[in-house]
Symmetry: C2
Subunit: 209 residues, 2 copies
């Protein structure tokens, strides 16, 4: 299977080739893959900031414990979750569903109310925890898609979310940075590409009942 | 791109064809894709219970608000996170790394200590939140892999984690159920397969800076 070949080929790229850029055609495919990712209720409670500006990238590197991929990779995606999903988000989603499927929003009132009921029963903290899970599904999808396209990536959780907020003004949009993905092409000098992949054996990850 | 075709083809399957089973060869590929998924530090702080037993599946359906996919799909993967990642997990990972790469574990002491330092600085709640993010990356990878193989799936967050614990004895292993994926083949009778996919427009999901 090609997919397993691709998943074995990929690795968390430590050193990117600074001379190579992901083409705009390929970048659009990666963005579309993220957009098509599954999410709980289909609500997609996140946004991805595609940071192109060099100065911003330098500042974000400092807010990422100096990890060089932040500036050296072709692209930087910052995955941000909505910290407080409201009825307003749900109404918007209901309207989007109605428009997409060419139906009357009134017919979806029951569906909207049941979603609102689910969120009314949880604490604000649980609301945020729920939202923050969803971009990880998109990240898994993105890493897989990159690998299939022979594009390298390094997902990184080691970021200072408060500093990301200061630099990108995320909380004004109700967002918080969860993790980042740096995307591009591996440098020939990155010795870690030759290291054997470390994964638990199948019988530690899976248990059959 | 084939991948976008596959991602557009997939949908959260509501009704599975109960007569069709995923072949054991394909199932092994799906499990291997999960195993190869990226995770924070590479620690893979989760386990997937592949529930084959029909009686257990019936009980889990009741613990999943009666959603029929739990029993009707060919396969059921229950993604569980470790609720308290300890130094013991890190030591095990260091040993696995040493064995995989044929190096002396002593050479990895600094790496292990730095990971332990990261976990020493966070609360038990933060430890669990961190762990619980990781299986979502694997879920994204799994859904993508299924789609590429023309296998249907429905990821489901609507489960009663306490009841899952009772039925599967998860907390004895330090685990908690996060979500499930039901896997198989869509029924021709599932009308929802013909519904247009609802996704936010690209300029709502992405913002370029």
């Amino acid at each position: 299977m090609n997919i397993l070949k691709s998943l074995n080929w990929r690795y968390a790229t430590k050193k990117f080739d600074t001379t190579r850029k992901v083409s705009s055609t390929d970048l659009e495919i990666l963005k579309e893959a993220v957009r098509l990712s599954a999410s709980s209720f289909g609500l997609q409670p996140y946004k991805v900031i595609n940071v192109e500006d060099k100065e911003l990238r330098e500042k974000l590197k400092a807010a990422s414990y100096g990890q060089p991929q932040v500036t050296d990779a072709s692209n930087l995606f910052v995955f941000c979750a909505y910290t407080n999903l409201t009825s307003g988000h749900i109404d918007k989603y209901i309207n989007l569903t109605a428009t997409t499927r060419n139906i009357n929003p009134a017919e979806l009132k029951g569906f909207g109310d049941s979603m609102k009921g689910s969120f009314a029963n949880i604490t604000p903290e649980q609301n945020y925890v729920w939202a923050a899970h969803q971009p990880y599904i998109a990240l898994g999808n993105l890493l897989n898609t990159c690998a299939l396209m022979d594009i390298d990536a390094c997902p990184m959780g080691g970021i200072d979310a408060d500093k990301y907020d200061e630099i990108l003004g995320l909380s004004k949009q109700g967002l918080r940075a969860e993790m980042i993905a740096t995307i591009g092409y591996r440098s020939e000098e990155d010795a870690t590409q030759h290291w054997a992949k470390v994964r638990k054996p199948l019988d530690e990850i899976f248990e059959t009942r």
